[in-house]
Point group: C2
């Protein structure tokens, strides 16, 4: 192995470099660190993010820190794990080497688990003006913007201008869109009338715009219908078979000519794979995902794997690839780790087979929809199941404890105390502090 520019000791163990500390990367690093490998885990952040609860951070229901976990703390006792917080700039599969902002690094095995980001489907204007929710930073930016706009609304006497500040359009009827719509509707119902007594909260309109003819397309018809019923009961205006064509920061233009006045569009309409330079062009397929075989190997490359949201794998039961959800990522990580173990014993690797444990979405207090392989249910019991599954999927006992207390607290008080507009301080130009929270800066 040639000298590496990133300061990582040479070891006699083979080196596996894992790019990305999401569900796939984290689970693989955990398993591999218990075997005879040197594991290098690279992420842009020094923490793992629990994506399924981003929307609760954006809706001021949870502290950011409760759904994040420092990578170093997770691997404190694994001496063969090396964590580096940096960005991978290029992969050199011929030299078996990656390049990062911290320098180069040789690998024996490379695992790409860089996940997916928001897909604006090429609309630059929407990309600039709409609010995505694929990182905890974006969730916080959205939280600040929502709260800031309510502050502005109470000092705005012009009716139309005020409507623009208080109305919100959510694009995308998948789990994220449904969960955000439900949370916003509950905020409108229970919290805003108490915080903003000067505002007529009945004037707040929450729109959920979905391209297809039902919500929660990946779930059962019962779940779709119930989610729609629950949201309507909460006052959400649902627009099915509707496509957002444009958004100029003031008006949302729906295909067909309809126009909705709203300063905020929350974009949950699609994702696309994050990119990494140096992979063969033909390995990048639909949705910017990386095509892999049943062992998660990138086609045509030696010892390069892709896992989770970024990977596109066809198996007989999933001829169009797997859904981009946490369970696929976790199961692929386990299968790949197991294949390394099998190969070390001279046994053949096992092709990946996705075991769908079910899917669920919550709409609000006491209301969720759950599809399990054998039965489906909706309502209060589904909501309890949703709570416990998410609570126990969190990493860290203290995170679970704090999320649990927050949920219980919010349930009984119909309130919480996290409606904070926290911005980094700008000491050199004080005026700016009072200006609008800026997106993308």
């Amino acid at each position: 192995m040639s000298a590496a520019n990133i300061n990582i000791p040479n070891a006699t163990q083979p080196r596996i470099v894992i790019v990305g500390g999401g569900f796939a990367g984290l689970n693989l690093a955990d398993k591999m660190s218990k075997m005879n490998y040197q594991v290098v885990l690279i992420d842009k952040n020094n923490f793992h993010q629990f994506q399924p609860l981003f929307y609760q951070v954006a809706m001021a229901g949870l502290e950011t820190s409760s759904i994040l976990f420092p990578l170093r703390k997770l691997f404190q006792k694994r001496k063969n794990v090396f964590i580096r917080v940096t960005t991978v700039t290029k992969v050199d599969t011929n030299q078996k080497r990656i390049h990062t902002l911290l320098g180069g690094l040789d690998y024996d095995h490379l695992v790409i688990a860089i996940g997916a980001d928001t897909n604006f489907f090429g609309n630059e204007q929407i990309a600039r003006k709409a609010f995505p929710m694929k990182t905890v930073g974006e969730a916080l930016t959205l939280r600040n913007k929502i709260l800031y706009d309510y502050e502005r609304a109470i000092t705005t006497t012009d009716y139309d201008e005020r409507q623009g500040l208080i109305d919100i359009v959510i694009v995308g009827g998948g789990p994220t869109g449904v969960e955000v719509a439900g949370a916003l509707a509950e905020m409108k119902k229970y919290i805003l009338p108490k915080d903003y007594t000067e505002l007529d909260c009945e004037e707040i309109d929450i729109y959920l715009v979905q391209g297809g003819d039902c919500l929660l397309k990946g779930m059962s018809p019962e779940a779709s219908q119930k989610a729609e019923d629950f949201l309507k009961k909460l006052g959400v205006i649902i627009k099915l078979n509707s496509r957002v064509e444009d958004f100029d920061g003031k008006y949302v233009h729906i295909k067909g000519g309809e126009k909705i006045q709203a300063n905020k569009v929350i974009w949950a309409a699609g994702i696309k794979g994050n990119t990494i330079k140096g992979l063969p062009e033909d390995s990048i397929v639909w949705g910017q995902r990386i095509q892999v075989d049943r062992e998660n190997r990138v086609a045509g490359l030696e010892e390069v794997y892709a896992l989770g949201d970024i990977a596109y794998m066809e198996e007989p039961a999933y001829p169009k690839g797997h859904p981009q959800v946490a369970q696929v990522a976790i199961q692929q990580a386990k299968n790949l780790a197991n294949n390394f173990k099998l190969k070390s014993k001279g046994k053949p690797a096992k092709p990946f087979e996705y075991n769908d444990l079910g899917s669920m979405a919550t709409i609000g207090r006491n209301r969720a929809v759950v599809d399990l392989p054998r039965f489906k249910f909706q309502g209060f019991f589904a909501w309890i199941v949703w709570l416990f599954v998410h609570l126990f999927s969190l990493i860290g006992m203290k995170n679970r404890l704090f999320v649990f207390i927050n949920w219980v607290w919010n349930y009984f008080t119909y309130d919480q105390s996290l409606r904070l507009i926290i911005r980094p301080k700008n000491r050199n130009s004080k005026e700016k502090e009072s200006k609008e929270p800026v997106k993308n800066t």
Copy 2:
């Protein structure tokens, strides 16, 4: 009363405008809202900040949200309280009117409680490069910088460069400087060796530079001495009678010629009053404070008051003004509210008299110093007293609960899970994410 540009309803009640939601402003708003006044509370943030625990946020010991509390939530049930999140640009005492970024507003009574900011004593270079800790945003920026520099240190092979990344200089031996030094020393001892096994944590040097000849100058000689002993036992290098003359981002220059290599200077060496335009020049005195009489009235102005850190008041027992601490702010707010009540009953106002309840500082686990008016003590019992006083001074039951759990958790695990470098996301220029957390942008 003439029309106001900020959208606040005219009331038959007299209007008291309070600028600043710190200890003084908050306590006054609370008292006045129970009387027959229209209360307008103006702050740049939508939350109250609990300054005494900023250092624990900066040291990754507490969540930000635990020491902040939304102003709106505090006054949800007071229909005569109006909160506006904005910056006051100018006071017009002749017209009895203030100007803000949201427009103008007439007042019957004006209370200036804008507090103090870091004082760099005119050194522009230090102001640009050093890290202050007077807002929660600054505390977060410092936390990110400390963690980021340890990340960089493990990939830095050059000895001197690495020392610059891991060594920290704290300037100022008051409570903040002492508390930060103690917390950093404990981080070095208990946490960093577990998180950064690749780093020789013995190489980390923590300097505390103090201009005077003892630490905690405002406290008793016993407290000063014990604080020094405790910090030395934790390995902090204390430099008394030393003044930092310059800091270029790499070296700290001490008066007399000594040079310390360190990329980070935490500046806790002094404060100065925040400024507000439109007050008579001669009312601004030493430390940029506003001179007030014993009833907190700004000299020569009608119905304009200043409270807390920004106010400079001489009373016989404090001929050089009061210490700039929370207790003075709270007591002045109570006295002023009481004077409004007395005057409404035709009784004469009571001059303010500061009742010193004592002072305290914590150095680390089991170690604090407490000076009460009648007795002084140090060590474990002082630490317990410090914990409870701070816990019960926090606003909000949930904040108290969360801080308490965090403290108990940290005490028994010698660890926590808040070492997160959270930065706002910049989607348009991804490369920047991996660069250094930037100060003042």
